[in-house]
Amino acid sequence: MSALLEVEELRVAYGKFEAVRGVSFAIEPGQVVTIIGPNGAGKSTTLLATIGLLPSKGRLSFEGRDFRRLDVEARVAHGLSLVPEKRELFGNLSVLDNLQLGAYSRGESARAMRDSLREVFDRFPRLEERKSQLASTLSGGERQMLALGRALMSRPRLLLLDEPSLGLAPLIVREIFSILQTLRRSGVSILLVEQNARAALELADYAYVMEIGEISLAGRAEELIGDERIVSSYLGGVFADEKPAAIARG
């Protein structure tokens, strides 16, 4: 079974600062993989390098295709989609416009567009209620939904999520994660970067823990829940200088 996404020895630097120092992971089709860890660990950087918004070194292949030479727009056209940490919505456009632009890379016919919109609105009824409103007038939770809906419009084969719970009240986080559960059941592969370790581990199949630019722990999500080492990684204790246990694929 060939992996959907394979990343090997990824290195990303901001000027002098090496934020990601040789990270390797893989995602199988239909799998939900999460990268958790404290702030500043390099998780978002890893995601941004995967979609191509940041330059990186190392190997990166998607569905067997070498992605390193492709720019962001090409990667998106090949089936990757990102829900960024800062949402990056088009505030001056309506909810509907934002969603339609999400399908831009597919160049769809009007009918196909209608079908995709229908699917998204079924998942996010609140967005349908607000479809003519400007994106800038939405609440935090609604914006997150819109960002997610927009990413889904391109019918991605791999969905990348950057800290979806950020800045959201616990109730909304719950709502978002239950939507992610239904997504998962419908077979969408997901790479989820999250600070909220508990929610992420409950959703995912497989998990990697990142600290200071490196992976310090890896394993099946259900086995890592409650692992004391994770508490240490967030609140002090384990140092990334200790090499992690062998990273087996789930």
Binding site: K16, F17, L166, V173, A199, E202, V231, F239
Partner: protein
Amino acid sequence: MTRPAFRIVLGVLAAALAALPFVVGGFAITLLNYVGIYALAALGLVLLTGMGGLTSFGQAAFVGIGAYASAYLTTAQGLPPLIGLVAAVATTGGVALLLGAVTLKLGGHFLPLSTIAWGIAISLLFGNIEALGRHNGIANIPPVSVGPVSFFTAESMYYLVGLTLAGAMWLSSNLLDSREGRAIRSLRSGAAMVESLGISVFRTRLAVFVIAGIFAGISGWLYAHMQRFISPAPFELRTGIEYLLMAVAGGSGHILGAVVGAALITFLKSVLQDVLPLLTSNSAQLEIVIYGCLFILLLQYARGGVIPFILRLAPKRRAPPPARITGVLPKQDRSAPDATMLEIVAVTKRFGGLVAVNEVSLKLRAGEILGLIGPNGAGKSTLFNAITGTDKPSSGKIVFRGRDVTHVPARKIAALGMARTFQHVKLRPNMSLLENVALGAYLRSRCGFLGGALRLARAEEAAIRADAMRQLERVGLADRFADLAGNLPLASQRLLEIARSLAADPVLLVLDEPAAGLRRMEKEALASLLHRLREEGLTILLVEHDMDFVMNLVDRLVVLDFGSKLAEGPPSQIRANLQVQQAYLGVAA
């Protein structure tokens, strides 16, 4: 090239320049005169744009003001040219002051746009005022005369222009090496950094704007009395962009860049004026097309200009370390009433509908190290900005050393004894470590612009440098004092920023994620430095994400979550606190 050899080359060059009029013909001398005059105007732009980061398209208008002021007074009013010089300086300085006061508060691209606006407006004025001869200009301008000596030959002007330019370069060089000069050079790091050092961005910008204007005015004076005739044409926007081209082509980051650039462009003009008529009957038009294309290519491929290439040939000047002098700079008053250094009372910050910080209160005791932590989005940076004066809270009170500083700007808070570092290090990469640290001592010194240009405060300057050296020693970077800050690795850059903060002799040091991007050993070194500083009497407040770093460093922790204070206490207590764990690790979905 070795040092003695370099000196000999310089000496020979200087002698050659002085002897030139005896060797070379009149045309070449005249050309050099123009180079000198343009270089003076370009020098103003090097200071303004290269050092101060303010792009101006209107330098030619100021040259025109100087030229017309003197031309008018020496022809219509029959006054001597030296009075014309005074008038040129006074009018350009005055107009620059006025224009600057109005437009320098504009940020981003609005400022250069405004220079286009008044650049055109002023040059149009020249052509429309009756007393200035309208489009015919002013003729029969007398040559400069000092007593019996009259500068009407090209050779005599050569020396006048040369000495004036040399004088301006000397003054500029002195200024840039002094307290206010460092302030000018810091402008490019952005208002937040500059104001955090107690420097007024507006005042510094205005000063360098006026200086650039005055240099242009003097250039105009020389121009008028050399050509003996002026018209509105040479003072239009088109010439303004030629001056900018000179500064950029020569190298806008260096004083010599003005001369090199002026020489390059003037010689280019001269060559084009010879060659182009052979190719086409429209040579004058083609000239400006060539300049335009040249400028664009320059900006795309060699924005630093020619000088950086030349500098690579020069020897590395091994500057001697500053002399050790003790305590000439005033120290901060260290007394804090009732040992509460900083008190935050029910501070709230709203951005539109979002409450970023919600009624947070905390007390920072003198001599302690307090850590402010919390998950991403908890409101730490917002609170941090409120404390340092970068932003104002929506409600609540902040009291620093017994004074209410809630609505006090960052500059004044710095003067009260708070120094800060930045999450993304803000240093001057092209200044040495010593100079970067010396920047921090701005509030402890007093030398002004004039004093700096005339080297009047050497004792104070020596004291500043000695103090800066001491701070470098404190952080362990003393042996690299002459290196350029841009060449340091990140960890050293963070230490350098701390050294700069220490140069202000603060009572409270506020650090923004100082450990970000550091490796384990570097963090240990940083932690021991901070402990040492605390022992020497400093109070420290830091915002941090790195829990390992923080747990072993601070006396107390304050945890924020969703804008509110979640917990407060010693590290071990916080570590074990279940609510804190939940805040960090997240709620089950």
